[in-house]
């Protein structure tokens, strides 16, 4: 069964849930950008830098683990609280579907990514976790693991769309050094010529020139599950099931935090939550 009534919801919140703790150390970043807390130390633990394309699941280090359910029972985020060391922060909890790393900031040739959600659908319940069949629920990112150089270059990302066609996204200017944990969204770069299409996979990334430093970055596919704003530093914000939208959490979901920063560090991010089952 699924949770269909308030009584079932209240019962699950009180008696059938997994608790999660968020307690992440601050990491350096850039103001007004998305910052992955995948590599931040704390709880959940620091995630590993990926190499070849791999799916993530609830047991992957860096994710918020929860009790797996036997269908038709399933899971939902029903509560979270949050206090951030910086003001004007937004916390997003994403399901980290798949990732790859090892892209090099000094190569000006096409670098292979080969991260296609279609080919991964049979692993770690990706077929359910990805959401809509047209891949429109998936957020695509370039994610940095080690800073690349200061030379301003353009990155062109070649993708496969939901209809099977391929094409280049609008070039992304990498102005100045991109630090570790910097994330930039790719969905907004679908060009007008491909309007209405959604990204199914990423094939290659090509830099227009060397940035000067190899660094390390990669491609990550996530699905947004919940978001909470933290307008005041060190002030506890609470969001319940209704404010969160009762997001469905399929088995194997690899939940991890991303913050949208207001300043040049992520600040500490502390909170807790409940994932109810039923």
């Amino acid at each position: 069964m699924t949770i269909q009534t308030r009584d079932q919801l209240i019962n699950a919140m009180g008696n059938n849930f997994s608790r999660f703790i968020l307690d992440k150390a601050s990491i350096a970043s850039q103001a007004g950008t998305y910052v992955s807390l995948w590599r931040a130390t704390g709880q959940p633990g620091q995630g590993a830098i990926p190499a070849a394309t791999a799916t993530c699941n609830n047991n992957t280090t860096g994710t918020l683990n929860f009790m797996q359910q036997v269908s038709p029972a399933t899971s939902y985020i029903v509560y979270t609280d949050l206090a951030t060391g910086n003001s004007a922060m937004t916390l997003e909890i994403h399901d980290r579907l798949a990732h790859m790393g090892g892209l090099n900031g000094t190569l000006a040739t096409a670098q292979t990514v080969s991260l296609d959600i279609n080919t991964l659908a049979g692993t770690d319940n990706i077929s359910e976790r990805k959401g809509d069949a047209d891949f429109s629920d998936i957020s695509w990112w370039l994610e940095w693991y080690t800073a690349t150089g200061s030379t301003v270059v353009t990155a062109t990302v070649n993708v496969t769309y939901n209809d099977g066609t391929t094409g280049n996204l609008t070039g992304l200017s990498l102005a100045a050094t991109r630090p570790a944990s910097f994330m930039v969204a790719l969905n907004t770069l679908v060009p007008s010529a491909s309007a209405g299409k959604f990204i199914r996979g990423v094939n290659t990334v090509t830099l227009s020139a060397t940035t000067g430093t190899a660094g390390s970055f990669g491609v990550t596919a996530t699905r947004l599950k919940a978001a909470v704003g933290s307008p005041i530093a060190n002030f506890k914000v609470v969001a319940d099931w209704a404010q969160l939208g009762l997001p469905h959490i399929p088995n194997s979901s690899a939940l991890f935090p991303i913050v949208l920063t207001s300043t040049t560090s992520s600040g500490t991010v502390r909170g807790a939550g409940k994932i109810a089952h039923g």
Binding site: T106, A108, A110, G149, S150, T151, V152, V153, T154, T156, N158, N168, T170, G171, S173, A175, P191, A193, T206, S208, A209, T210, T211, G212, T213, A214
Partner: protein
């Protein structure tokens, strides 16, 4: 190729930068590679430049 050379940018960057551009600076990067700066759009390797 030198400063003030007019160039076009071929695939895979031509969709984003379809015009002609002027080389504004030639510089060595931290890893000692030569790159060509096309004003505000930044650095390009010589392999992505076509002299007009």
């Amino acid at each position: 190729m030198e400063v003030n050379t007019v160039v076009k940018v071929p695939e895979p960057f031509h969709e984003t930068y379809p015009d002609t551009y002027v080389v504004t600076e030639v510089l060595q990067t931290e890893d000692e590679q030569e790159v060509y700066i096309l004003g505000e759009i930044g650095a390009f390797s010589v392999c992505y430049l076509e002299v007009v």
